[in-house]
């Protein structure tokens, strides 16, 4: 796989290996967490931010939207843990509420991209021939542009809001999954167990649905965990540029964009949303790297 865009992932090379039958899910998870302390850190960070996606708005001690300019740019205190912004809103409440935008949007984007990409990859890889050619040239068309530039162009054309950010980034991400899945399908469909299934008269639907698709999941999951971090960054990046979430939405990128004017005199305003973004991306990168190493027999410790 060639992936040469900015801030992109390293190529994922996973040699599929079916786990021993006696290993349960919980024992696998425990083994993964013990594999490296960084895995544990990644999982903890992700758990924390996933919790905020669901409960962030409920936990916010103050209204994250309603301005109160009398309290503008207050430093962190026992009332306002992360200080206040230029309109007197509590930065802590906005960071908590912002998780569902920054991280939630990234999940939506990747979910759609995975479904579309997997579907295209499966069809192209399994059917082959002209269909493969056509679908792959279409994929190449999207891959030919630098990801963020393409997303900016789409977002700017469609209009500046979060819905269009989702569309723009989905368009950018699905081709990677199409390529990835197609490669896996090409490799899998020559394997003996597929040949065997075909020999006993299994229908193409059954072969794809029961044998090929489940065997691509591991690769997709690893790629997905690596991509979540970048999708969060891209969502915030578009918002930072004014192409994504619009004020007063407490999206982290929008907050950082608003805060950069004040960073000399109100360090807290840019620091905390920046920190939230950094830790989220760090968490997913640690998990992605950990999973890749864990699933790759060449790097996995026995």
């Amino acid at each position: 796989m060639e992936r040469t865009t900015t801030a992109t992932t390293r190529p994922v090379t996973v040699l599929l290996e079916r786990p021993p039958r006696q290993r349960t899910l919980s024992s696998t998870v425990i083994e993964f967490l013990r594999h490296s302390p960084l895995n544990l850190l990644g999982v903890v960070l992700i758990a924390l931010f996933l919790f905020l996606v669901v409960f962030g708005s409920v936990l916010a001690p103050h209204d994250p939207i309603q301005p109160n300019v009398a309290l503008k740019l207050q430093p962190p205190s026992s009332t306002y843990w992360f200080g206040t912004d230029e309109l007197g809103r509590d930065v802590f409440s906005r960071v908590l509420s912002g998780a569902k935008y920054s991280l939630g949007i990234a999940f939506i984007i990747l979910s759609i991209a995975v479904v579309v990409g997997t579907l295209v990859g499966l069809i192209a890889g399994y059917v082959g021939g002209l269909v493969d050619e056509l679908l792959m040239r279409l994929t190449d068309l999207f891959l030919a542009f630098p990801a963020l530039v393409l997303a900016m162009a789409i977002a700017a054309t469609l209009g500046r809001n979060l819905q269009n950010t989702v569309i723009a980034l989905t368009v950018v991400y699905w081709p990677w999954y199409a390529r990835l899945v197609r490669g896996q399908v090409l490799w899998l469909k020559e394997r003996e167990f597929i040949e065997a299934a075909r020999a006993i008269g299994a229908s193409p639907w059954r072969i794809v649905g029961r044998h090929i698709l489940p065997n691509t999941f591991a690769v997709i999951i690893v790629q997905l965990t690596l991509d979540v971090g970048y999708a969060v960054l891209a969502t915030s990046g578009l918002s930072f540029l004014g192409l994504g979430a619009q004020p007063p939405t407490p999206e982290w990128g929008t907050m950082i964009a608003g805060a950069r004017t004040f960073f000399r005199d109100a360090w807290w305003y840019i620091t905390f949303p920046g920190l939230a973004l950094t830790l989220t991306v760090l968490g997913f990168n640690l998990l992605g790297d950990g999973l890749r190493d864990f699933l790759d027999p060449r790097t996995r410790r026995r």
Partner: protein, 578 residues
């Protein structure tokens, strides 16, 4: 002169002639002394004639606190670096209608006359050495220096000046209205008397002509030789060439013009006037607010007029910097879509604007409330017109009467990256949310916003609200209102971006254009402003802007002017050895 209080009247006359008082101050003090309006107008005339026959060939720096006009201790550092926030795509001074461009032009191009010091009605020489007019303001004569040359070495005589004005008027771009209001036919109305004398003949009395000639937008003199050399069959005015090159008569000539990056000028040795202090002027384009502040604080830049209010308050504490604050003629407003909002709705929205919060907490005092599009520094300002204050109950009632229901959504567009605009928009949004109205904020690039505002997009496809602001090209209420609210100026024909079209306003504005006395100007302007603000509101007029320019502490001679906003009097500025 009023015989009852001769001493005070004489003092007022002397103050008027010396240029110490503005036109408005003369008027108010005259009225306080019990002088009749004709007497005050005579005083104002005396005031403006005070600059007609200057003896000094070029101005000297106005003394500032800590400055010694004679025997000054000059620094050996003769480079001056100013900061801009964006590029200047059009360098043609007869086409660009852009504040940053005009700031550059004052280094390298010249008008015939310029505004004197902080006054908006007193003049001093720029290219012309002397000027005069007849009693009924129909003939204006300018005397040029015999040694004036353009940067390309060609002489700048009366013929060259006529050709430059002919190009400006016939090309008809950007700020042409500044002069075309007075001169429709340059061939007939501009007369070369001799090589150093040029006369402008009006078709009717035009007391504001000198004010317009001192505008930094448009009446700048370009080289006819360069025009001849670079015009083509497709571009008879060589606009493409002038938009990227500079050939004027100013004290500085261009060395490097990178329009999105920096502009470098060096002193022009053949300059006809007094030799300026700085050898080199560099204008750097720095889009980020924080970076501009940093460059000023580290001393890498020496002047910046584009610092946001929040940073200004912090920079005031820095002993290495001086902040020069000044009242301006600028009024900022939120245009309301005339085609999509009825009068009741627009009145309702005016009541929903957070006036006090914006002025105190967002603009941080660099503004004051205003009762319409005319600043209190502009002739025609009427203090009797009431000013809106926030009243959400009244807003709700009016919006309801206008047929607007709770939950209805409106759109507000502003330039991305402008944190002041973003903060104001969110406060307005919060106020409207309290009365059940949704306001959707739309950030767009500044270029896209300008294209939408000044393009031909129909009003139905424009947002409900758009932020903006304006100041006149010269001190005149018609010049402030006409491009923004006359039906002739809608869409690409002017700056009437929200298609405000009120026949009564049009009629009054047409009368105002020909008003001959200050009383008439004041009366008509008042009537127009009352309609624009209250009866059939065109915009939410939320503030008259106070500006500030930040300078390094060793810079001397800078004099701000309420009309030349964000510009510099490069010719008089210098650096003291501290």
């Amino acid at each position: 002169m009023d015989p009852r209080r001769p001493e005070e009247s004489l003092a007022l006359l002397l103050a008027a002639r010396s240029g110490r008082l503005t036109r408005r101050q003369i008027l108010s003090r005259g009225l306080a002394l019990g002088l009749s309006t004709p007497t005050i107008l005579a005083l104002l005339a005396a005031c403006s004639r005070g600059g007609e026959t200057p003896t000094a060939p070029a101005p000297a720096a106005t003394p500032q606190p800590g400055q010694t006009p004679t025997g000054r201790r000059e620094s050996t550092n003769r480079e001056f670096v100013v900061l801009f926030f964006g590029g200047v795509p059009d360098l043609d001074p007869q086409s660009a209608y852009d504040n940053q461009a005009s700031a550059l032009f004052l280094a390298c191009y010249e008008m015939l006359i310029k505004l004197k010091g902080e006054s908006t009605f007193d003049y001093e020489p720029m290219l012309a050495r002397e000027w005069s007019h007849n009693d009924n303001f129909t003939e204006f004569t300018f005397k040029l220096p015999p040694n004036a040359v353009f940067h390309d070495g060609s002489p700048c005589d009366a013929d060259a000046v006529k050709r430059s004005f002919t190009r400006f008027l016939k090309m008809g771009r950007g700020p042409v209205n500044v002069i075309s209001r007075f001169v429709e036919d340059p061939d007939l109305q501009i007369q070369v008397v001799d090589t150093t004398t040029i006369k402008f003949v009006m078709t009717k009395p035009q007391p504001l002509f000198l004010a317009a000639m001192a505008s930094e937008y448009g009446p700048l003199i370009v080289s006819p030789k360069a025009w001849d050399e670079h015009k083509t069959a497709d571009d008879e005015f060589a606009h493409d060439w002038f938009s990227q090159n500079i050939v004027g008569t100013g004290p500085y000539k261009p060395v490097e013009l990178l329009q999105q990056e920096r502009f470098v000028f060096e002193r022009f040795e053949q300059y006809h006037g007094e030799r300026p202090f700085f050898d080199r002027i560099i204008a750097r384009v720095v889009p980020e607010d924080a970076t501009r502040r940093q460059l000023m604080e580290t001393g890498e830049a020496h002047a910046c007029a584009y610092i946001n209010p929040e940073d200004l308050l912090a920079m005031k504490q820095n002993p290495n910097l001086q902040i020069v604050e000044y009242d301006t003629t600028e009024v900022d407003w939120i245009r309301m879509n005339y085609a999509r909002l009825n009068a009741k709705a627009r009145q309702g929205f005016c009541y929903a604007w957070p006036y006090q919060e914006v002025i105190e907490k967002v603009l941080r005092g660099y503004a004051k409330p205003i009762n319409g599009p005319i600043a209190d520094t502009v002739i025609g300002y009427d203090p009797s017109i009431p000013t809106y204050t926030t009243d959400l109950q009244k807003a709700k009632q009016l919006l309801s009467e206008a047929g607007i229901k709770e939950g209805d959504t409106f759109t507000y567009m502003y330039s991305s990256g402008d944190q002041t605009d973003a903060a104001m928009a969110q406060l307005f949004q919060a106020n409207l949310a309290q009365i059940g109205i949704r306001l959707e904020l739309q950030q767009v690039e500044r270029a896209a916003l300008l294209e939408l505002a000044y393009g031909d997009t129909p009003p139905e496809q424009r947002p409900h609200f758009m932020s903006g602001g304006w100041w006149p090209d010269y001190n005149d209420s018609w010049n402030q209102i006409y491009p923004n609210y006359h039906s002739d100026s809608v869409g690409s024909k002017g700056s009437n971006a929200m298609f405000y079209q009120n026949p009564e306003v049009d009629r009054l504005m047409n009368q105002l254009k020909d008003a001959a006395t200050e009383d008439e100007i004041r009366r008509l302007t008042g009537q127009i402003v009352r309609i624009l603000t209250w009866d059939d509101p065109a915009a939410i007029f939320y503030a008259q802007i106070k500006k500030a320019t930040v300078l390094q502490k060793d810079i001397r001679g800078y004099v701000p002017n309420p009309i030349y906003i964000n510009s510099y009097n490069f010719w008089a500025m210098w650096r003291e050895a501290l």
